[in-house]
């Protein structure tokens, strides 16, 4: 971004120098404040914030879609949505929540915190990082554009062929879906390459792999999963778009195609994907639980290896989504057993978290509440998952609300709760202000109650035989007595309102905190890991001097030491630890420079996609934008040379980043 020069003369002020001269095809952007500083930034922290803000926006979109679904289903023969709109609604609800909320939110946290947690000043490829963000954002907007251009995709989030083919889904909705996901896929892939390289290569001295914070570890596993899973759905999406846009017949049964091809490709991606969604949250709570238990994570190596094991075994279970598809008994039996195997490493995590609590000194901040909530709610969802893995019984439950209950417990009770835990935990780090704890408590309880009210009854509904994806349900099959559809559907719908109010409180909390929140102390939680060893919010260059790591939970060990009786006592305050770093500050730090090219290049992708749907010349224009972007990108040095700064950085001992 700039060259950060330590003020030699006096106190605290660091001066920032920005590059000035013309480089590459365009003059470099230089703004350090205002909207331009965001648009062209390559700073991982700014990008992290933008990722999260965009994801939050999509969460509200996906949530409103969910609320519409619930309103429609509250009573029999709902009239709020017609069949067509309803089908679009649940397809886009799931797509938005999975691809545009949880994934980018996790990417936002990864972006912001991985470099801080491993003691780096930025990611390995800052410009690619910016490109990832913009590609995700443009892809997400492109997907939602379909609402205004003749209707959104309506084939369900796994978009089974041949229903997703041009004959059965003639509107453009699915075209937008396919191409939009293709764009966000590119973003994920680029992000994965970037973050893996960052974690492996940019660690501070002494930060061995087995000293890395668990959040970083889980993100590393996630990025590997993305790296290998995204290309699989890329293939599937290509085949589908060639069928829809260029007349190929990959899923056209009359030409001899086998519709199960799509199912396999989708779920080979799709199952690793669900671990992509959950592992970041596992990472978050593995940070939060120890901090508020005042105790290290129980069995750190087990948590690390079980995470890796989940990631690995997750590749061998995809066909459990296809138990009713007619695979044949051998495949069904094999996938059934392999799916059960995954419960073992996941169980390890549950055990470790519980044992972390055990014997601790628990402080129930909002972050901690969400973390503990996750343990219980995820377990419920995981156990229903195990009941699905029993293939014969799954043939009764698949495609009913029992499955809907399962995945909302793991996704909402698991992934979303983890993210909320992270919001409360890291908010002071990012914005320097503490979220209101009282509102947080309300937020938490309304969410727990609302979520159980919404998704709990779905177990009943599903076991009573209510299939999913029905725009209306009928009294005729509702049954009576305690377990009738009528009561529990209404109950779930009311629950979703409670849940919405809970989430609304979070949004209100953000506003209140921004207006007049409490300014956060340097180390508000008495935290343990490296990201807290810098100011709130962190400086542009993260650390004044890169710390040398000698422990897991480095920050904690700098603050605490065992006294003679073996009791941990605080020997240093966070301020003192910080001061040590400041005293050794690098004089001149050369940060990666902002660039026009990431956003420019990313903007070409939706143009191409738009052209593929409507007219090839537009696609060619998009192609030219991309080509020009690549050209500009490759001739612009990723980091402006030292002599290009104003004032030029003259000193020899400049520390370079990126």
């Amino acid at each position: 971004m700039a060259i950060i020069e330590r003020s030699i003369t006096s106190t605290e002020v660091f001066s920032v120098a920005t590059p000035s001269s013309s480089l590459g095809a365009l003059k470099r952007p230089v703004a350090t404040t205002g909207w331009k500083s965001w648009l062209f930034t390559v700073d991982h922290k700014k990008l992290g914030i933008m990722y999260s803000a965009a994801a939050l926006f999509f969460f509200i979109v996906g949530g409103l879609e969910a609320v519409l679904i619930r309103l429609q289903l509250a009573a029999p023969n709902g009239k709020i949505l017609n069949a067509d709109l309803y089908n679009q609604m649940f397809t886009m609800h799931a797509t938005t929540m999975v691809f545009l909320f949880v994934m980018p939110m996790a990417a936002g946290l990864a972006n912001y915190f991985i470099p801080l947690q491993i003691g780096a000043r930025d990611v390995a490829f800052p410009r690619i990082n910016a490109f990832s963000f913009w590609a995700f954002l443009f892809g997400g907007l492109f997907l939602n554009l379909s609402w205004f251009l003749g209707g959104a995709a309506d084939g369900g989030w796994f978009m089974y062929a041949p229903n997703s083919g041009p004959v059965f889904s003639p509107s453009h909705g699915i075209d937008f879906w396919v191409l939009g996901l293709q764009i966000t896929g590119i973003a994920s892939l680029a992000g994965a390459v970037n973050l893996i390289t960052t974690v492996l290569n940019m660690r501070a001295p002494g930060m061995k792999l087995m000293r890395m914070p668990i959040f970083t570890w889980m993100q590393l596993v996630v990025q590997f999963l993305l790296l290998f899973a995204v290309p699989v759905i890329t293939v599937a999406l290509f085949l589908l778009s060639f069928q829809r846009n260029f007349g190929a017949t990959f899923f056209d049964v009359s030409a001899g195609a086998d519709p199960l091809l799509w199912q396999h490709l989708f779920w080979i991606f799709g199952h690793p994907e669900v671990y992509i969604l959950i592992l970041p949250s596992f990472g978050v709570i593995s940070e939060v639980l120890p901090v508020f238990s005042r105790k290290p994570l129980f069995g750190y190596p087990f948590v690390v290896f079980s995470g890796a094991a989940i990631g690995f075994v997750g590749w061998g279970v995809w066909a459990h989504h296809m138990f009713a598809s007619g695979l044949g008994p051998v495949s069904v039996a094999v996938f059934s057993i392999s799916t059960m195997a995954i419960a073992v490493p996941t169980g390890v995590k549950i055990v470790n978290w519980t044992m972390t609590l055990w014997g601790g000194k628990l402080e129930f901040t909002a972050a901690m509440k969400f973390a503990v909530g996750l343990i219980v709610l995820f377990t419920i969802g995981g156990l229903s998952g195990v009941t699905h893995s029993v293939a014969p019984s799954d043939t009764q439950q698949t495609d009913t609300y029992y499955i809907v209950a399962h995945f909302h417990y793991v996704l909402f009770g698991g992934a979303v709760f983890g993210l909320f835990s992270g919001f409360y935990y890291w908010w002071p780090k990012v914005f320097g202000k503490l979220l209101n704890e009282k509102l947080g408590t309300w937020n938490f309880w309304l969410m727990v109650i609302g979520m159980n009210m919404t998704f709990g009854p779905m177990h009943i509904l599903g076991l009573q035989g209510q299939p999913r994806r029905m725009y209306q349900w009928t009294e005729a099959r509702a049954g009576e007595g305690l377990f009738n559809f009528g009561f529990w559907n209404m109950f779930a719908s009311i629950g979703s309102i409670v849940l919405s109010i809970g989430i609304l409180l979070f949004l209100i909390n953000i506003v209140i905190t921004a207006r007049n929140g409490k300014v956060a102390p340097l180390d508000p939680w008495d935290a343990r890991s490296l990201e807290w060893m810098t100011s709130n919010p962190p400086k542009e260059h993260n650390f004044d001097s890169i710390p040398t790591i000698s422990h897991l939970d480095e920050f904690f060990h700098r603050k605490y030491q065992e006294d003679a009786s073996g009791q941990m006592v605080k020997v240093k305050t966070a301020e003192q630890v910080m001061k040590e770093l400041e005293d050794n500050a690098d004089a001149h730090i050369h940060m990666p420079s902002p660039s026009y090219w990431p956003i420019f290049l990313a903007a070409g992708l939706p143009v191409i996609s738009f052209g593929v749907i409507y007219s090839i010349p537009i696609a060619i224009i998009g192609g030219v934008i991309v080509l020009f972007g690549c050209y500009g990108w490759s001739i612009e040095p990723s980091t402006a040379p030292d002599d290009d700064f104003d004032p030029p950085a003259t000193t020899k001992d400049v520390v370079h980043v990126g």
């Binding site: 005042r294 007619g326 059934s336 073992v344 519980t354 503990v372 377990t379 009764q396 005729a476 049954g479």
Partner: protein
């Protein structure tokens, strides 16, 4: 949508509401408990814990213990977490010892779940292969899904009196106590066949034939629902399996094979036949129907429908429901009479079919007036051109009221 289920609590086998035991399950806490209860005491027609035939029973025997185990583990974890939360909350105790774990404990707590799952796995394995068994099949029916109804095609099986193929839709009629093999496929997109009381789901995939074995212990009507998302009217794609005693089944077969009888001249029904020949015969086959010149009338649904088929109406009035079992053909009181019948008299009542007095005039007329208004058929009619102008589902034919009058009279003759 109509009530398809009576509300009186009789004690017949047909009435699924009747005589249901409500098993009480002990040791239930929180949600795991609710989940449990749902499986054990109930009265919804598609309940997955009320097997009414051997296949569903095999599944049920496996899933009950699995749900129990899952429930117990769930309760256990929840309780431990709650204890920890209360026991170790910050009461000013000193900072705990910074212990990093206990490998022995870890390994034990890894092995226990692994053992539990091994046991579950063994039983799962066996059950999968038990269910896959088809060698002792006694009867075969071809089942074809399409947007948004099911077609049943009984191949010639002389031992059941099926001397000619029978084609019907909506209600699958089977002899009770007989091992029936469904050979499933689809004409357009993927559907899934599911009668929870008889067996789990099996997808009907175009281009593939999937086997699905069912058997009903007793005569009765068993409700089901298409459970693979198949487009606009997926929610309105239902089905029912009707099990008849073997004797009644033979009667049913005989009726299906009854030759076509054209209505008497100068009746309303006869005029209806003419309208039918003009309008409906494009898609709907009525076996044995002949033109005035004696040439047989053959429907050409493949020229009009994306899926290439429309229900065969030869014996429409022998069924109780229509349009993918979404609407009743019987009016309310007649319906309750059939559906609530005693086990012994059920067969006779079902075989009585739909008489003029019993016909659900409102829905049938509504259907003929404007079918897509009752059951969504295609998202956007303007887009039909992209399927070569072929229909998906039954279109609005713009019939006049007098045409409808005649058609209804005619359809009533199709017993």
């Amino acid at each position: 949508m109509r009530h398809q289920n009576t509300t009186d609590h009789g004690t017949t086998a047909v009435n699924r509401l009747a005589g249901m035991r409500r098993r009480v399950v002990g040791s239930i806490a929180g949600l795991a408990g609710t989940m449990f209860l749902a499986g054990c005491a109930t009265n919804a027609p598609q309940d997955t814990f009320q097997p009414k035939g051997p296949n569903a029973k095999i599944i049920d025997d496996l899933q009950k213990p699995v749900f129990a185990v899952a429930g117990i583990i769930g309760v256990f974890v929840t309780v431990v977490v709650i204890i920890a939360v209360f026991k170790f909350r910050d009461k000013g105790q000193p900072i705990p010892h910074q212990s990093h774990g206990n490998p022995a404990l870890e390994i034990t707590l890894t092995i226990i779940p692994a053992l539990i799952l091994t046991v579950v796995g063994v039983f799962t394995f066996r059950t999968v292969f038990d269910l896959a068994k088809t060698s002792d099949t006694e009867m075969i029916i071809n089942v074809t899904g399409q947007q948004w109804w099911w077609e049943y095609d009984y191949p010639v099986q002389n031992e059941y009196g099926i001397t000619q193929p029978i084609i019907t839709s909506g209600q699958l009629v089977i002899p009770a106590g007989t091992k029936v093999l469904l050979r499933q496929t689809s004409r357009d997109v993927i559907h899934s066949y599911w009668i929870p009381a008889l067996n789990g789901k099996r997808d009907a995939v175009p281009g593939r034939v999937h086997l699905n074995r069912i058997e009903a212990d007793k005569p009765g009507i068993y409700a089901g629902q298409c459970t693979e998302f198949c487009g606009l009217s997926h929610a309105n794609m239902r089905m029912e399996a009707v099990a008849l005693s073997k004797a009644d089944f033979a009667k049913w077969v005989a009726n299906q094979l009854k030759p076509y009888a054209s209505p008497a001249e100068n009746t309303l029904a006869k005029e209806g036949e003419t309208v039918f020949m003009n309008q409906c015969i494009r898609c709907h086959q009525v076996n044995g129907m002949k033109r005035a010149d004696g040439t047989p009338v053959i429907a050409a649904p493949d020229e009009n429908m994306v899926s290439g088929a429309a229900p065969n109406l030869s014996h429409l009035m022998s069924r109780n429901t229509f349009a993918g079992a979404t609407f009743d053909l019987l009016n309310k009181s007649c319906r309750e009479d059939v559906w609530g019948a005693e086990s012994e008299s059920f067969g006779a009542k079902y075989l009585g079919g739909v008489s003029e007095d019993c016909l659900n005039q409102t829905d049938l007329r509504g259907w003929l007036r404007n079918a897509p208004a009752m059951k969504p058929m295609y998202a956007n009619p303007a887009l039909l051109t992209s399927s070569g102008g072929k229909y998906r589902g039954m279109p609005n034919l713009g019939l006049t009221e007098s045409d409808i009058e005649k058609l209804v009279a005619y359809l009533l003759t199709l017993k």
